[in-house]
């Protein structure tokens, strides 16, 4: 009896893995890479509608995905100007590439991979550090390893010890209380090593970025000085980043 029902559990699962996460279709109304048309709109109003101050009007309307919370407010208010596509290939090695410009409907350029990236081709082990992350990006990073996304099939894995890691993945706006632990963890990773920022909070501070509140001064709870002294090798935008954005970013970084 017990045995029979165990087999029925197995049988019912079928194939759960996504055959190719590079080309998989995202269901529903996923907000990935935005497209900005040349339609003429009140530029001041478009800039003002963004709660994250991610939209700029200098040289045409542009959206900085490193600041964007992907809330879709701009697309709801100005549907003729801005729309979000389902393109999840939005990770890049160059910060400036996250800025999507008017009338450009082309994939976000991934940029050059770091020199050392080639050696991680067959195996890329990463240590995740949550530094003020709200457990949404952590969740999605965890999901990359589940039976659906199964990033393990490419030899990419999150490991416990920084000694076993080839790099760190930072989530969250980097709180002052985590800044030292982050540095210690980074130092413990053997060189050559990679630094990956996952999520809007990590890339720009997100909603915790003092620039967003429009008030002068700084958020004393944050200490982002780690990013002043260390080169970032990969930016994965999102609030949180979608597992497919993460998987594809890491695959390209490992030149797979």
């Amino acid at each position: 009896m017990k045995h029979a029902s165990l087999i029925s559990v197995f049988r019912r699962q079928g194939k759960q893995y996504i055959p190719d996460p590079r080309t998989a279709e995202v269901p529903g109304i996923f907000r990935g890479r935005p497209v900005i048309t040349t339609a003429s709109v009140d530029a001041v109003a478009v800039v003002a509608c963004c709660p994250m101050r991610a939209i700029s009007a200098e040289g045409g309307i542009s959206i900085d995905l490193g600041k964007c919370a992907f809330c879709g407010k701009c697309a709801r208010m100005f549907p003729e100007k801005i729309s979000f596509t389902k393109d999840y290939h939005i990770a890049t090695t160059v910060r400036e590439n996250l800025i999507v410009r008017e009338s450009v409907d082309a994939p976000i350029e991934f940029g050059p991979v770091p020199e050392c990236a080639g050696i991680f081709k067959g195996s890329l082990k990463l240590r995740q550090v949550s530094a003020g992350g709200d457990n949404s990006c952590e969740w999605e990073l965890g999901a990359t390893g589940n039976v659906n996304f199964d990033i393990g099939r490419y030899g990419i894995e999150f490991v416990a010890s920084p000694r076993h890691a080839d790099g760190i993945v930072i989530t969250g706006p980097i709180t002052a209380n985590m800044s030292r632990a982050l540095q210690i963890c980074y130092d413990a990773v053997p060189a050559p090593k990679l630094v990956v920022l996952c999520g809007t909070d990590a890339i720009s501070g997100g909603i915790f970025n003092p620039e967003v509140s429009g008030l002068d001064g700084s958020n004393a709870c944050l200490d982002r000085s780690f990013l002043d002294t260390h080169k970032v090798d990969l930016y994965i935008p999102g609030n949180p980043a979608h597992p497919l954005a993460i998987v594809n970013g890491l695959l390209k970084l490992a030149e797979r």
Binding site: K2, S5, L6, S8, V9, F10, R12, Q13, V26, P27, G28, I29, F30, R31, P51, M52, A69, F70, C71, G72, K73, R76, F84, V129, S130, G132, G133, D134, N135, S136, E138, W139, E140, G142, A143, N146, V147, N148, F158, A160, G172, P173, T175, A176, N177, M178, A181, D201, G206, I207, F208, V212, S213, G214, N219, A220, C221, L222, N239, P240
Partner: protein, 490 residues
Amino acid sequence: MEPLYLKNSQPCRFGDIPVATDFREFADEARTLLSDSRCHCVNYFAFAAQDGIHLIMCIANDAEAAIAVFSHILTDSEVPSMQIEAVERFEREISENHGITFTGHRWPKPLRTTPDDYPFYRSDNEEHHEVGVGPIHAGVIEPGHFRFTCEGETILNLEIMLGYQHRGVEKLMIALPTIDQKSILAENIAGDTAVGHSVAFASNLESLSGFKASREMVYARTLALELERIAIHTGDLSAICGDVAYQLGNAVYGRLRTPIINYMQKWCGNRLGKTCVRPFEAPYKFTKALAEDLLKTLEAFEKDFNLMSRQVCHYPSVLSRLERTGSVKYEQALEAGAVGMAARASGLSRDVRKSHPYLLYSSDMETVVKHHGDVYSRTQIRIEEVGNSIAMVRKLIESWPFDETATQMAAAATPAMAPDTFVLSLVEGWRGEICHTAITDASGKLALYKVKDPSFHNWRMLELAVRNNEISDFPICNKSFNLSYCGHDL
């Protein structure tokens, strides 16, 4: 002084909150109310007003569906601690934020600061050893420090040090100028409870503005809360199986979570339900097509979920790891002021949906209560609550007001908030009671915003649960609570 009794999300003028002139009177009132097991402290905080620092106590009476609110204006920077376990963490917070000293406090440790020289509780016995874990943990999770005192493999004491995630949420909630920005912040308080915190936030803002949510919005919020519960409970079950090396459960529950969160994305564009709930609007309409899709998704989900759950609940090698592990007794849960699922696993029936109804919840709803307080109780609660939530979702869809047009208010028409007003909203997130409290100033702007995640109460439960357990069982104990670090640290 008689406390003022408010309903969930019922606003009142700040000046109407009764003030105890004497601190002793204030403390005695709190002590009297809290001696009743149907009452618990939902919030206790300090508010720096023009006439001095107000201590404001909010005690929910679950039997009367009312929240007692009363205050005291401090005349001294030193007051005696109430020495009630469920209140002591609030006292630590007040002390840290306002420099008030609570004399006789049994454990005046920092709450959200992480000093290097903090003296952890330790044993002088040569046969005992310490194990320090974190702030960075082995998995892909948030940071916090755990200090174990062990005798051999047995944990004698666990002391938890949090604060690594402190981002300044409460100050930012006041500083951010627009409602859109505040909403995004509310979604980021704890990303795994984006819907729960958003509903509490929206309730507060709408109450302060005298705005009545449309029937469709009320339906949508109830649905989003229950879907969040189904998704996270399922994910937690996967993690619990993973921690006892039961790979089948880990994989099956793990993949079962996917269709639910993907469904959230189909509805609102975000797998965790961010942007699904916003004050004064329902940004993403719930259509008939979405309803049909959900019923199909749940039908497929339920079959596999039940089959898997039957396996888990009958598999001896799984049960032997879950049963009698990490037990918290009813008395301990009561003393610690536990809330939500963790309280219900120890026989303490606390569910805000039933006791302080809001949205479409009513006092006759069924809550799942278990009595062993062990990891298995917390596992069973999740399994049964998923079943109840599915039934609730089906009922919602049956009576959904599809014909009504959504009341979408443009940002410019957002009603102004009442000046000098106090409001408190309780929402049962999947972990338990979320409490958001707001006070407006004379111009109707937020002067104070307090956020309390259920984890604020329940971290103490984890410390109690692991005592006399093997240290190798710590991960499974921890996972069975799955508490929020960022929700606590703010």
